[in-house]
């Protein structure tokens, strides 16, 4: 099986619509052993939803902005497994004031929160687990992205955070490459997750995506993105690091949607 015996840490499982939930389910079906992490009030929700996976995994507390949580997570995983084969970073947050069309009025504090949780945490969490990844022979870090090379309606400071995430992943790839760790992002098409629904105006992005994507796009199906994450966690992309892999139906490659078909 694709992920047989892989010991994986999956963040960001909130409900069954979460991309990370699909990753967790597919990874288990592919033979992986999992630990999930949850945050604050979300921890209780993650504990509930974990029971709906084929094999309910343990859930550890991780607020990515709290250094002690990083240390505790690394210590727990060290004791539990001694090594980690893969980390899925599916963590992002922006205050309402940093989203939904008030870009030029957003205060630094709100933008800073978005960058701390969604961008900086990719580097800090990778660093915290680096010794355990090294112990596994290198392992893989995979983060979730939304194309940060362009400006989108409503996405605002989360878009800046994702652009920063893309840059951050290249630097983490640079610094963990020598120990054999592969570091990549998956840029997803828009999906109706709890996170996306929190953004007023995100549906404007959803609407045009299916028409623009040569392969089409289903905003309710996270599995294509999750499969891509699992592929990057596997041993089958051994020379790939510092990449943003688009799992978006191909929309990123097309300049404008095709004209409506004449009947």
């Amino acid at each position: 099986m694709l992920l047989e015996g892989k010991r994986l840490v999956v963040t960001g499982v909130l409900n069954e619509q979460s991309i990370a939930f699909s990753v967790a389910r597919l990874a288990q079906e592919a033979g992986a052993e999992l630990v999930l992490t949850g945050f604050g009030r979300g921890l209780r929700i993650t504990e509930r939803i974990a029971k709906r996976l084929p094999e309910p995994p343990p859930v550890l507390e991780l607020d990515v902005t709290v250094a002690e949580h990083h240390q505790r997570l690394a210590a727990d995983l060290g004791e539990r497994w001694g090594a980690v084969d893969g980390l899925v970073h599916a963590v992002a947050f922006a205050p309402e004031a940093a989203l939904g069309g008030s870009f030029l009025d957003t205060a630094w504090e709100d933008a800073a929160t978005a960058l701390h949780v969604s961008t900086y945490s990719f580097a800090s969490l990778s660093a915290s687990l680096a010794p355990l990844l090294r112990a596994a022979g290198g392992g893989a870090v995979v983060g979730l992205d939304f194309d940060g090379t362009r400006a989108w309606p409503a996405y605002d400071w989360m878009g800046v955070a994702k652009a920063g995430l893309e840059a951050t992943s290249r630097y983490v790839a640079r610094d963990l490459g020598p120990q054999g760790t592969r570091v990549n992002l998956v840029a997803a098409g828009p999906l109706r997750t709890v996170a996306a629904k929190g953004i007023d105006g995100f549906e404007d992005i959803e609407r045009s995506w299916g028409a623009q994507a040569p392969l089409g796009w289903d905003v309710t199906d996270a599995e294509p993105v999750a499969r891509t994450v699992c592929a990057l966690l596997s041993d089958w992309l051994p020379a790939t690091t510092g990449m943003v892999v688009h799992a978006d139906g191909g929309a990123h490659a097309i300049g404008a949607p095709p004209p409506p078909a004449s009947s």
Binding site: L14, Q17, R41, G42, R44, R48, R192, V194, K197, G198
Partner: protein
Amino acid sequence: MSSSVYDRVSKILVENFGVEEDKISSEATFEDLDLDSLDLVEFSLAAEEELGVRIEDEEAEALGTLGDAVKLLADKGADPSDG
């Protein structure tokens, strides 16, 4: 039947979300009860587990009042007897 679903839903709100009992009424909105979108995610899961019916995301978003939630759960055949 829906009155007992109402009791079960009230119990979930009091026990899981610390909602004060005297704030609960059919007309109360989730906003009145200080439940935000994250709470609604958890409420849907809890109701699913305790009452054995599934609330889809789109349905959860459309819920205005507690009465709406009770009606939805009852219409979907929530079983108030077990648990």
